[in-house]
Symmetry: C2
Subunit: 256 residues, 2 copies
C-alpha cells in the first residue's frame, strides 16, 4: 500500500477526528464452503488488521463505518450492522502502532500526544465476495479473505473482534434470513441448507430445516428444477421480499 | 438533588473522562401491568433524563455503565446489556445543558471548551422494581418510573434512546427468556403469558404460547397450584436454570 499517502491523509484529518473512537469492520463471505473474513495490511510483513479508522467530528458512526470501509477496501453501498463495542483500556495503542512503523510524528503532532486509549465500535456484514469491488481503496492496501478457522496473525484485539462478530452473525441468522445476500436469485433448499451449516458450523437435520424454512412462507417455489446435479433434480426457489417484509412488520421472527 | 455536589464531582473527574463518550442506561420494569423505564432529573422542573454519565479513561464501557447507574440511582449489581450507539453529531450539547443551569465554568474549564459532540452508548436491563434499592445515588437525584406509552418530556434524544431500547428488549425476548428476572420463584403460565403480552404490547394466543414455552423444556412443573385465583387453579412452574444453560450451550434459541 501507499503508506505515505495514508499518513498524509491521517495528518490532514487529525483535527477533525474523534481520535479516541474508532470503527472496525468485519466483512464475512462464504468462499469454497468456508466462512471467511476480509482483512487488510498496512505494509508487507505487517500483522493483518480489520479495515478500520476513526470517526470524523461531523459524521455519525454509520457514516463513518461506510466511509472507512470504502477508503480502506474500495467497497461501496454495503449495509453494515453495529454489533459490539470494544473498550478494554489497553486494547489499542497509537504508540505501539507507530513505533512499529518507526514514525514519531504525524505532521506536527507528536505520537505521544495522541490519546492513550481508543474505543472501537464493531460493524459487520455478510456479503457475496463476487459482488465486492475490492480495489484496495485510497491507499492500495492489500486485502485478503481469511478463513475464520485459520486466521493469520492479527493486530491488537482484532481476533477477538472477529470471534464476537461470528457470534453476532449466528444470532442474526436466527432472527433474519440474512443469508439472502449470499444466494443467487434462484436457489435450491439443499443450497440454503448448506449455507446455514457453514455459518452455524454444525450439521443441521435436513428435512426439519426445510420444513421450518417453508413454514415462514418467504420463499417462492418455482416450476424449474436445478439441472445437472447428481441423483435428484431439486426445485428452485426464489426469495419473496414482499412477504418477508410483511412478516417482519407483523413481528414474526425467523429461527431454526 | 445536590447539584453543587454533582458539579464538584464532575470537575474533579473532568481530566479523567472521555468527555466525547457517554453512557445512557435504560432500566425497564413492569409495574401495574405497564412497561416502565427509570428516569431521573437534575433539579426540580428540569426535563427528565436517562441515568447517564461519562466513561473514565481507565475503565471499559461495561464498568462505566455499572458505575454510572450506581452513582445516579443507587442501584448495584445489575447486568446491563449494550444495545446501540447514538452518534448524531447534534444529539447533545454541553453548552445547552449548562446554559440551562446558568453555568459557564466547570472549575477552571470554560463550558465552551468542552467537546462539541458526545456519542452515547445505550445499555438496557429488565428488572423487578421491588428488588432495586433506589437511593437517588450520590447526588440525591429524583428518580421515577415512567410509562413508556406516556413518557414525560425528556432531554436531548433520550425519548429515541428509550424507543430503540424497547425494540432491543423485544428482540431479546425472542432470543432468551429474559423475563426470568421479573418472575417470582414460582409462577403460573398465565402469569408468564401476561408478561410477554405487556412487553411485546400485543395479544398472544394463549394455548400456542404455553405449548411453545413448554417445548423448550426449561420450566419445571411443580405439584403445587396457585390458590385464590378465580375459576381455575393453575399449576405453578419453576425456572430450571440448569436445563436453560444446557440448551443455550447447545445453541437452542428461544422464540415465540
Amino acid at each position: 500500500m501507499d503508506l505515505n499517502k495514508f499518513l498524509n491523509t491521517f495528518e490532514g484529518d487529525v483535527e477533525e477526528m474523534e481520535l479516541n473512537l474508532s470503527i472496525d469492520c468485519v466483512i464475512f463471505t462464504i468462499q469454497e464452503n468456508h466462512l471467511k473474513v476480509l482483512v487488510t495490511n498496512l505494509f508487507e510483513g505487517a500483522d493483518w488488521m480489520l479495515p478500520g479508522g476513526f470517526v470524523l467530528n461531523s459524521e455519525n458512526t454509520e457514516h463513518a463505518a461506510t466511509r472507512i470501509l470504502h477508503q480502506r477496501t474500495g467497497v461501496e453501498h454495503l449495509y453494515l450492522e453495529q454489533f459490539k463495542i470494544f473498550s478494554d483500556p489497553n486494547r489499542f495503542s497509537f504508540k505501539a502502532l507507530f513505533e512499529e512503523m518507526d514514525i514519531k510524528k504525524i505532521g506536527t503532532v507528536d505520537v505521544n500526544m495522541l490519546p492513550m486509549r481508543v474505543i472501537s465500535i464493531g460493524y459487520f456484514a455478510l456479503v457475496d465476495f463476487k459482488s465486492l469491488n475490492l480495489t484496495g481503496g485510497e491507499f492500495d492496501e492489500d486485502t485478503a479473505w481469511a478463513d475464520i478457522k485459520h486466521l493469520p496473525k492479527l493486530k491488537f484485539d482484532h481476533a477477538k473482534i472477529i470471534g464476537d462478530a461470528v457470534e453476532a452473525l449466528r444470532t442474526e441468522l436466527y432472527l433474519k434470513p440474512i443469508a439472502y445476500n449470499l444466494l443467487p436469485e434462484k436457489f435450491t433448499m439443499p443450497e440454503l441448507h448448506k449455507l446455514y451449516e457453514i455459518i452455524l458450523d454444525k450439521p443441521i437435520e435436513r428435512s426439519s430445516f426445510q420444513k421450518k424454512m417453508l413454514k415462514w412462507d418467504i420463499y417462492e417455489r418455482l416450476k424449474e428444477r436445478r439441472e445437472g446435479v447428481a441423483h435428484k433434480r431439486p426445485f428452485l426457489y426464489r426469495f419473496d421480499s414482499k412477504k418477508y417484509n410483511e412478516a417482519l412488520n407483523q413481528g414474526i421472527r425467523f429461527g431454526i
